[in-house]
């Protein structure tokens, strides 16, 4: 693994995918992987296969739906879109994430003051 890169934190990939679909509308798996790669600015290591693991899981939970369509370069592709339930989940997990990261941030600042 290249230096300075971090593995995707367990459970955060679902959140990233939900947010991506929420912000950019229906996308196929490859597009989602590219988008996350681009946003992470090569800080995160992402095995792109795990994107699909997440997609299957999210679909089972009913947070996303999928349908077949044609990609930008005229290939048949499966497009994923966020559902109502997914939006609720996104809200909940976003709030959760902000709370936790806030707490951790406070803890870390506390240490550096000493």
């Amino acid at each position: 693994m290249a230096k300075g890169k971090t593995e995707v934190l367990q459970g955060t990939l679902d959140l990233m995918i939900l947010k991506t679909l929420h912000a950019l509308g229906p996308m196929h798996g490859y597009g989602i992987a590219r988008r996350i790669e681009q946003l992470s600015q090569e800080v995160l290591v992402l095995n792109e296969g795990t994107v699909y693991t997440s997609l299957v899981r999210l679909q089972q939970q009913g947070s996303i739906a999928s349908g077949w369509g044609v990609s930008e370069n005229n290939r048949k592709a499966r497009f994923y879109s966020i559902t109502k339930r997914g939006l609720k989940q996104l809200d909940r997990e976003t709030e959760n994430w902000e709370r936790i990261s806030g707490v951790i941030g406070r803890v870390l600042r506390l240490e550096s003051e000493e």
Partner: protein
């Protein structure tokens, strides 16, 4: 995202076709192709690009496995594999299979039989009025003059009890006896019960047809009540439910008697081990049992219906069973527990033998069977 919903999705995955799997494979294929095209655009050779794409994608086999586990219920699938493996093992060892199956069958059969008996004798109440109030009475002094087991009494004793035992609403007596009954030209054996006149009244059993005995009309004259009450099943089966049976004459032990009634359906006496076909007043006993005649002999069983009981009254049923089962009280917890433990041990042992054999198989050998 309820857990139930996920479970349902997985169940669907278990039974639906493999089409989604193929579609997924195509999807991943397309993804890899796009990735490698991107690497080619960045200046890689096609071969390098393909392997770089695969590296970027991650462990395909692991991912496939994850996906299958998420899509279906692996525990059910592996259970099915185990079942098939077990069936194969059983087929390969027919001798052991036979022994295992037979011992299981025996165990189940024995358990069922024991429980049925217990159910009939202990758990089920008699189909009479307030069966839990029924008790059996017997003296505990030395059984002088007793010639029918240690629970029997004589008619004079019964009369004493009836007069003096004020705690009991009714005291009645009964005497089991196989007799011969002649109808037309046919003579056949029947189970009969000679009973005191208040027998039906005490048990709260009425008549389907005609009347049952009463103390006023059927328990007064020594040898003077030649009347018979038929049990409902006997009347239905032997006399085809003939509604004109009341008033007919039949011979009981060659003695002519009148049929006066049929007892209520469902009532077959107080002794589950012998169901009487007919009832006869106890006063007729000398005629029915000419060799051991008289009512002075201690041959009767006394039962009574406790109304204002001062002493703890155990039910008649458990008394009866304890007498039958070697003086072991069947409701005794320890007896029950030991019986259950022994039976369970037998069943477990029966299952253990094939299990031990299966586990003793060399894994390599097991693979060869696959």
């Amino acid at each position: 995202m309820s857990r139930l919903q996920i479970f349902v999705e997985k169940l669907k995955g278990l039974f639906t076709s493999r089409k989604p799997d193929r579609e997924f494979d195509e999807e991943i294929e397309a993804h890899l192709k796009l990735l490698s095209e991107r690497y080619i655009r960045q200046g890689m050779s096609p071969a390098d690009a393909a392997s770089a794409a695969r590296r970027q994608f991650g462990n395909l086999a692991l991912f496939e496995e994850n996906r299958r586990e998420m899509r279906s219920l692996p525990s059910i699938e592996s259970l099915w594999r185990s079942v098939r493996y077990g069936a194969r093992q059983l087929r390969l060892n027919p001798g052991f299979t036979a022994v295992a199956v037979l011992s299981l069958a025996l165990g189940i059969g024995a358990n069922t039989a024991v429980f049925t008996l217990l159910d009939q004798l202990v758990l089920r109440m008699l189909p009479v009025k307030e069966p839990q109030r029924l008790v059996m009475i017997w003296p505990t002094e030395p059984h002088l003059g007793n010639n029918e087991g240690d629970r029997s009494s004589s008619y004079p004793m019964y009369q004493d009890f009836q007069r003096k035992a004020e705690a009991f609403a009714f005291v009645f007596c009964r005497y089991d006896r196989p007799l011969a009954i002649t109808i037309g030209n046919n003579t056949e054996p029947v189970n009969s019960e000679l009973v005191s006149g208040n027998y039906f009244q005490a048990l709260g059993v009425g008549a389907t047809l005609g009347r049952v005995f009463s103390p006023e009309t059927d328990d007064r004259v020594y040898k003077g009540h030649p009347v018979v009450v038929l049990s409902y099943p006997y009347w239905r089966d032997r006399f085809a439910g003939d509604r004109n049976i009341v008033g007919k004459k039949i011979l009981v032990n060659s003695y002519p008697m009148d049929v006066v009634g049929v007892a209520a359906p469902g009532f077959t006496g107080v002794d589950p081990s012998s169901s009487p076909h007919i009832w006869i007043p106890i006063q007729m006993k000398p005629l029915m049992t000419p060799n051991v005649d008289g009512l002075g002999n201690r041959r009767l069983q006394m039962d009574s219906d406790v109304r204002t009981s001062a002493s703890p009254a155990r039910t008649y049923m458990s008394r009866y069973v304890s007498a039958q089962l070697f003086d072991v009280t069947p409701t005794d917890l320890w007896t029950c527990l030991v019986a259950i433990a022994v039976l369970t041990l037998v069943a477990a042992t029966a299952g253990l033998i094939p299990a031990r054999r299966a586990s003793a198989i060399d894994p390599i050998q097991a693979l060869r069977y696959e």
